[in-house]
Symmetry: C2
Subunit: 169 residues, 2 copies
């Protein structure tokens, strides 16, 4: 099958390969969550920053609902960057990992629903953040890498070696 | 002008737009370097991690030589992830920022020399790391975001508010 494209959309990476890169990041981030002692996940902080569980809840609130919104234009119940605390029943490592895995499933389910053209369109993500879809998705992932890296400093300061950055298996 | 492409290379983002995303990251990372007090840039550490200047020297050693290598297949004097300490004359904030800016210029100069097909080819970056070019470049940037984020924890623990993550101007 061939399609017509212009030099403007000369590809850096295909959508399929890019999704695989992201899923590799999500596997690594999951391991960083797992590396935290249960209590430190919810109450440890450096310099007044949020505990790692709250940072990860932000990523959970962005990733699944963000990709669903981009695919469907349905932003209902998508709080996005307006941070929400964890429900009492989710305030365990197991609960957080469960939310994480559900979020990964939503990404995998909705990614194929995003049309080729859609990635270059402008979207108002979460009804608030305007930008091209590719840039919006890159931002979701940048934000995941950013907070995960902050978590690795928390781990090091607790004397725990973080999972290897290069391992995305 | 139209070209023929297959669904395999369906674009997530064009090479031109992706370069602009990266340059936005580099502007932000530069501001994080600038936000450090001169002495703390070279000697402050949490949990036995490297000072921020050394992390940034790694990014400098990867980015420019990495893009030059991908564009030209010349990996001479490209130390990459084998970390090197800063020369004595570069051990100032001004010296580090100068290396940073030179690195940005190398990226901008060599990026247009990377052919469309090249981004999907497999490269042995720095003679050591095998992978598709797009994945290798994403890794360079992941690594920048990762160490920059660690620097923001250093800043917070020093009572300094880091530059806004969302601002890439």
């Amino acid at each position: 099958m061939t399609t017509t494209t212009t030099t403007e959309t000369m590809p850096f990476v295909s959508t399929e390969n890019f999704l695989n890169e992201w899923l590799g990041h999500r596997r690594l981030t999951r391991r960083v969550i797992e590396a935290f002692p249960e209590d430190k996940l919810f109450d440890y902080s450096i310099g007044g920053m949020r505990p790692f569980a709250e940072m990860m809840k932000e990523i959970i609130d962005i990733a699944g609902p963000g990709i669903r919104g981009i695919a469907t234009d349905n932003w209902e119940n998508a709080s996005g960057f307006d941070q929400h605390s964890l429900n009492k029943e989710d305030r365990t490592k197991e609960g957080l990992l469960k939310l994480w895995d559900q979020s990964t499933e939503v990404i995998i389910a909705f990614w194929p629903e995003i049309s080729e053209a859609r990635f270059q369109e402008v979207v108002l993500a979460f009804g608030q953040y305007e930008g091209p879809v590719y840039s919006t998705i890159l931002y979701f992932i940048d934000n995941e890498i950013h907070h995960r890296a902050q978590g690795t400093v928390y781990l090091r300061s607790l004397g725990i070696e973080p999972p290897a950055f290069w391992n995305r298996d």
